[in-house]
Symmetry: C2
Subunit: 314 residues, 2 copies
């Protein structure tokens, strides 16, 4: 059974990915706190991505055939840009140097998939069909940290001969995504209102922005396909649905699925214009290379997300 | 008299720039060691770019009208990538946050010019006329650190409303450039051979690579022009001659200028292929915006560089 190291294993995508990989792989899930139970093929190890010695020991001992690097500080978590650069850039550097350290002792070239982000493109002048060659206009520190680690991944695929493939997922959502993102924020509030006889109003901000949203389960299916595919070291791929939907339309769908009538109230304090009005990706390169096709329609994603939040409120 | 802060003031370009600016500006030159004598309009201050408090105090006190950020670890200086990212990325972040700190206390929006590098383009598939929209394929940690700080400069021009202009100089050389780069390495060795009766051979490595080389004095002329021009915050400009020359041709010119016959001997241990075979930039955007034209032909640059090294060997 092939061995795989998943960093950020307790994150949103990480948990869905491990569920998908568990039948076929022996998995080490690297997490930043020890709150997850091992299961049959999955062993969780808690450790610090900034500790290169720890990473070298881990990789030297486990010698994974494949590594997928998901660990990162998410856009909404930290107000401290230096910390974002440390975790997202220096953490990535540490992981690659750890692999390189093991490789110097004995020939060891695992397949590595680096999970970048569509936020590298940011405020691009051509936001409606973004290809991989599009220049980078990051709108926030998270986006800039992903530009840096995305290009570090390219660079070390050349300068250190590491077999790194870069994937740039666009927005994805589904059951298990924490609050701080649009869909879980809306879904969790709708469920709260369903459960509260006295509430019937939902406060909303600017709903104009258009995003390319996939189901997280389709996205991790893409991660699995690219992990199993031979690709040119340093290649980068968009992973996205290829079409855009407005936040307004998403909310309209969620409200239709709600168990009671809910009224939208515009809250002027939340009406600030989005940093990036439109982001829609071109997924043709990834589809062509892996045969990937998204399977879960957005309505299913939203239904499942509402069900997830209903489960949290029991 | 307008006030200007120059970081990296003791560097190669920094020293040439200060000579050019001194008649017209009150200058603070930030340096990392205290080895330079103040002169009429120029005051050197030594300090650490990683110390944000120091930078905030400096900017708050001096309130420069313009800032040019040259301080960076050069490609050949450090084998430690984490240190390169610290100085080149976090140092840049600190400078911008210091400006932002002062701006929060009292409206303060200086013109900032960030000196990026052509090394952001690296191993691009189209290396013979590189425009500003070209994607980034950095070949080494320095190039990746410049990708990160270049895009941080764009990002903070938007997210923090800082008035930052990005300049990407291609190769430049001339009197005062330290060894570790091709032209000073060759010129200094030629002068050594001129002064040594027993020597007449110069060991060389791979001379195939083609670069876009300007005189440092033309480059700092470009820095002065862009410092004095209104530009859109976040805009990026190539600064380069626009044509390529091989290392072989450069060496041929230097040897013709030498005071004695020198024989080239190919050293197989130095023959490793260049990371980036060709790099030639498109300078039309910068020329159009500033009226800049390079004035010093390469032969003059090489003559002056040889003279500089002859002066060092007295």
């Amino acid at each position: 059974m092939a061995k795989i190291l998943v960093t950020g294993a307790n994150g949103f995508a990480g948990q869905h990915l491990i569920k998908l990989l568990a039948p076929d792989y022996k998995i080490i899930g690297l997490i930043n706190k020890s709150n997850l139970q091992n299961s049959n093929n999955v062993q969780y190890i808690s450790g610090n991505i900034l500790d290169q010695g720890f990473l070298t020991d881990l990789i030297s001992k486990f010698q994974p055939d494949k590594i997928i690097h998901l660990a990162a500080i998410a856009p909404t978590w930290s107000p401290d840009p230096e910390n974002i650069f440390k975790i997202n850039l220096i953490g990535t550097l540490n992981l690659y140097q750890a692999v390189d350290n093991v490789n110097r002792q004995s020939m060891y070239i695992p397949k590595i998939v680096f999970i970048s982000s569509a936020e590298v493109y940011g405020k691009t002048p051509n936001p409606e069909k973004i290809t991989e060659e599009n220049p980078f206009f990051p709108a926030n520190y998270y986006g800039t940290s992903k530009v840096a680690s995305d290009r570090l991944s390219y660079q070390m695929s050349q300068s250190s001969k590491l077999n790194i493939t870069i994937v740039r997922p666009f927005n994805h959502t589904g059951p298990g995504q924490m609050k701080g993102f649009f869909v879980p924020d809306m879904a969790s509030q709708i469920v709260e209102i369903e459960n509260d006889q006295e509430k019937s109003e939902l406060q909303v901000g600017n709903l104009q922005s258009i995003r390319d949203i996939s189901d997280v389960r389709d996205i991790v299916e893409g991660y699995k396909l690219i992990l199993e595919k031979d690709t040119e070291p340093g290649e980068a791929f968009n992973l996205c649905s290829g079409s855009g939907i407005s936040m307004k339309d998403i909310l309209g769908k969620l409200l239709k699925m709600a168990k009671k009538e809910i009224k939208i109230v515009e809250d002027p304090s939340r009406m600030r214009a989005s940093e990036v009005p439109i982001t829609v990706g071109d997924n043709s390169l990834f589809k062509e290379r892996t045969g990937w096709e998204p399977k879960i329609p957005i309505d299913q994603t939203l239904e499942d997300t509402l069900e997830y939040w209903r489960g949290q409120h029991v």
